[in-house]
């Protein structure tokens, strides 16, 4: 089953246009919610039934997240969509914004209605100029058609949306840093608790969901939570967008059912480039630990399967590497990323990411020392679980994964001052 939820508009000629979206039943669900008097409680129940889990990487159950908001509490509440999509290897939300922006708009309106929010923000990665414009156009069209604004279809429900462009910091994909950024402050994660459901944007109750999560909502409501759940497997309901890249013939975004075997996804992506053997796969964005290729070929693409192999499904960014890749070089590049993107707020991440990068870089450049691998193990342990946000973990996990599965390459590098690959 492919392209049934977020990318269901792909066959259309101009899928970003409101008329075309409506031609396949778009915004009908929203109307139905108002005309049939579907209650917020029913919506949240349906989302819970769907077993939709946060598609941004953490996999937190969406329905549960929504239920944390006390929707009847007085005062402003917010729906925030996280389209910051900064995880290396991930480029799925971009395609939702480009090819199905109205479904996201509809999803956000429904989310707003479910939690009693009248205002939503979509925080879009600053480099996404064309996708952001598409989304803005979609907002404008929706407003003109009466789906946004005051008293939507006479329901008494007001809701409007704003686009907020990010400034290029990876850490702003972290939900509380994202809120700070919308507020005009430096993008730094907040210490939690309090969680955004209680103290979010401008201190108001807020839900923050990934683009894909929110774009899935209209289909969940239309076809039912059970339908969505049945698309996937136990504990991983629905379909999922995978952005697959690396040494493959046909990189791109594929919406497939949860639980689809990895080899099928690889086939969709055209298989390995030049027919080379698969060496390693990063299954869920650069933060997820690497999995050796042969092990990956036996796994299915769902939360439990990937977790069972010691990694994470994450954002669904699958990076495939063949045997020409030096894992030390790969790790050096990834560690450099986290070193550059640490916000600098808390000590272990600020200092530790730079340390990791420098040690890995030294090994890559033939200046490694025998004790360096133990040092890397130790430093990652001292970062993981001790920082304000998950960026510290994200920086530590790839190092741990690489050292677990490809330690021999690192040892070779240290001993021979050069690459094992190709020698």
């Amino acid at each position: 089953m492919a392209n049934e939820v977020c990318l269901r508009t792909l066959g259309l000629d101009r899928p970003w246009d409101i008329d075309q979206y409506r031609s396949i039943g778009g915004y009908e669900m929203l109307k139905k919610i108002f005309s049939e008097g579907i209650t917020p409680e029913q919506i949240i129940e349906e989302v819970k039934t769907s077993s939709l889990r946060g598609r941004g990487g953490a996999g937190f159950p969406t329905g549960l997240k929504w239920s944390f908001i006390s929707r009847n509490a007085p005062g402003q509440k917010f729906v925030v969509c996280n389209s910051d999509e900064g995880e290396p290897g991930t480029f799925k939300d971009r395609d939702i914004l480009r090819y199905n922006p109205h479904q996201l708009v509809e999803g956000m309106i429904i989310a707003g209605f479910a939690i009693g929010a009248t205002r939503g923000y979509n925080y879009i990665r600053g480099e996404f100029i064309e996708p952001a414009q598409r989304f803005q156009d979609a907002i404008d069209q929706a407003r003109e058609a009466g789906f946004l604004g005051e008293n939507i279809f006479g329901s008494g429900f007001d809701f409007d949306l704003n686009v907020h462009l990010g400034g290029g910091a990876y850490v702003c994909g972290e939900e509380t840093a994202l809120l700070e950024s919308i507020e005009g402050k430096k993008g730094q994660p907040r210490y939690k608790p309090p969680f955004p459901a209680h103290f979010g944007l401008y201190g108001c109750p807020t839900i923050i969901n990934n683009t894909e999560s929110l774009a899935s909502i209209p289909m969940i409501m239309e076809k039912g939570g059970q339908w969505f759940k049945d698309l996937g497997v136990e504990n991983s309901g629905g379909t999922k967008l995978f952005s697959i890249s690396g040494n493959i013939n046909n990189p791109g975004v594929f919406e497939i059912s949860m639980g689809t075997p990895f080899f099928e996804l690889l086939e969709m992506a055209g298989g390995m480039k030049d027919g080379r053997p698969i060496k390693a796969v990063i299954p869920g964005g650069s933060s997820s630990p690497v999995i050796p290729g042969e092990q990956m070929m036996d796994l299915t693409m769902d939360y439990d399967s990937i977790q069972g192999a010691g990694s994470m499904l994450g954002s669904g960014a699958v990076i495939v590497m063949d045997d020409t890749n030096c894992m030390v070089k790969v790790l050096e590049r990834m560690s450099y990323f986290y070193y550059e993107e640490s916000c600098g707020q808390c000590t272990p991440c600020r200092e530790g990411t730079g340390w990791l990068y420098r040690v890995v870089s030294r090994i890559e450049n033939g200046q490694g020392r025998p004790e360096d691998l133990a040092l890397l193990d130790d430093v990652t342990e001292k970062i993981a679980g001790r920082t304000i946000c998950a960026l510290g973990d994200a920086a530590a996990m790839p190092v741990q994964g690489m050292l677990k599965h490809f330690r021999d390459e690192f040892e070779y590098h240290i001993e021979h001052k050069r690459c094992k690959v190709g020698s």
Partner: protein
Amino acid sequence: MSEDQTVTIEVDGRELQAQAGAMLIDVTDAAGINIPRFCYHKKLSVSANCRMCLVEVEKVWKPLPACATPVADGMKVFTRSPMALAAQKGTMEFLLINHPLDCPICDQGGECELQDVAVGYGSDVSRFVEGKRVVKDKDIGPLVATDLTRCIHCTRCVRFGAEIAGIRELGATGRGEHMTIGTYIEKSVDSELSGNIIDVCPVGSLTSKPFRFHARAWELVQRESIAPHDSVGSSVNVHVRRNEVMRVVPCDNEAVNECWISDRDRFSYTGLASEERLTRPMIKQKNGWMETSWHDALNQVAQGLKDVAGEQLGALVSPSATLEEMHLAQKLVTGLGSSNIDYRLRQGDFRGQESAYPWLGQSIEALETLNAALLIGSNVRKEQPILGHRLRKAAVAGANISFINPMELDMNYASSQLVNTPAGMVDDLAAVAKAQGASGDIIDSAEVGDAHKAVAEQLKTADNASVLLGNIAVAHPDYSLLCSLAAKVAETSGAKLGFLPEAANSTGARLAIRTDGLNATAMLEHPRKGYLLMGVEPAYDFYNPALATTAFDKAEFVVALTVFRSPTIEAAADVMLPISSFGETSGTYVNAEGTWQSFAGAVSPKGETRPAWKVLRVLGNMLDIDGFDQDSSVDVFNEVKETAGDRQPDNTVGDATDSERKVAAGGLTRIGDVPLYAIDPLVRRAAPLQQTKDAISASIRLNAREATRGGFAEGDRAVVVQDGNRAVLPIEIDPNVPDSCVRVPAGLAGTEMLGGQFGEVTLEKA
């Protein structure tokens, strides 16, 4: 769980009672259990960024920061378990990898939190072999030195600025390792409380520029004292090495200054090193000033005073003198048959019945709890910075703070400011009184506007309101009117009437000095034959310096008990007796809230200087006046205590609302406020303070409309003429000055020959 519920937690096996929701670190601190920390500061918001206070909490898989973990009933905490120690040591290692470890050349060495904690949690060998981070230092002004390579990014200084100083002058720019503390745009840190960032900085990243490289912490002896520059009476620690004051730092005193002090109190000690310090008695002779012995000098003074004894003698005493000094000065003057002694040197109006013992009207701490306040003629933020901070706390908590002033102030919180000419200030206050339903001559004729109604309403509806009079009000030519009106406003609104006394002992002076003779201005308007001056400079410490200078000029005999010599003192005096300064003498100040605060000398008197009380005591003996046989300042103190110890503060003022208005209503009125670093002889000589932005130099400030009217442009030199005296000063365009006014601050070089602080002036082209 409600906030006031008590819960029981267990820390390292010890059972502790705590308020539900309190942060763990506060609970352990109160119980004396030490958890290492860097970013946590009891007066600042929690940021949880240093990760040094990570502890193990039962049933939580990862260590939690004690500073950001609220306690809950039954919580079991382990501060030194393997998990906690591993986390703390891990953080310590991270903090040290990029820290320069240049302790031997770091000013913080020996009093460094990082150093201290490293002893317990650091390793003796570093595993970090890479190059360390280096950060370019920034010049943030004359008071605070930066060494940003040492920064551990705790952001205490940033939070201090945002939360306490009330201006975000420092921030953390850049990400990750590149994060650095700075001002973003090259500029100085100008808060009047900026020096406190030196104390909150746990490492040697922010240090005192004037103190830098002058002494090591372990060479210093710490002696408690009381700051001498405003009526807060902040508790300070004077750090001394080899009988020299090396620096001044705050001493925790929750009721007065919490853990902060103003820059003025912190850096004024630098004035002690002034080349103008007078260290030996001097006598004026035909061919100039001659150093002499105490014996000869005192003999000459005794003779001089004897010659002018009786009502022809006037004594003018600095309001920063100690209670003991004031008491003996009063005794001496009385003994010489005079009743003329005063300390209200900057008061602009002596009509009406003044309050018997003016004070803040409440405790300093209580200022924080106000819901509304009206400040009349006060730039409290610069005049009494710590009181300004307390009021800011109230404002941040939602209090409505309003001002009636002759110029718009640069505030660090939301406030409403009624800005008017000095004459208009009286109208504004009368209008507020009228809006509240008060009546009286001047009130009935006032025109009430929306702003007046708003202020009146705020004062009336607030549970806890106060009407406060500041330094500008004291110098106002219609001070008695302002007092009466303020009292009416307070009475009709149920607000507390309070004074923001100007100097360290303005409040205490009332207990030691009887002002039943000629007042300060009358003594000058009706020149005396002889004067005794104590701790004052004629050209800078009087409401009308021209009047003072002339009076002293004409006098037959003037003795100046002074810490410094300067042209203005030398011109006025016949004998200069060198007295001990701040830090060198013992004594007592009574602060704004009426607290008697005694202190001992931190160092012995410099050179041949003597504490003023001793000088006065000996003079008393030489003049054969009874009651001068005290052996110590404590003996003097006991005398004051006996006569005035029971006096209760009393802000009752008489009704003077029918008084004639003195302040000029037409023409140009001078606004002669005293800038915060011009208030007394010591501060005026504190070189680092004089380099700050707040240390303005004398100029003629007027708004663009007035400038155009007079044909002046920014930077022009113009002549300001007051009472026939002329001063040539540069023009500065200042939108904060109202129409029909020129701001020519007092107490500054260049204003020596001008008249009253709020007199009529004219401008001429230079």
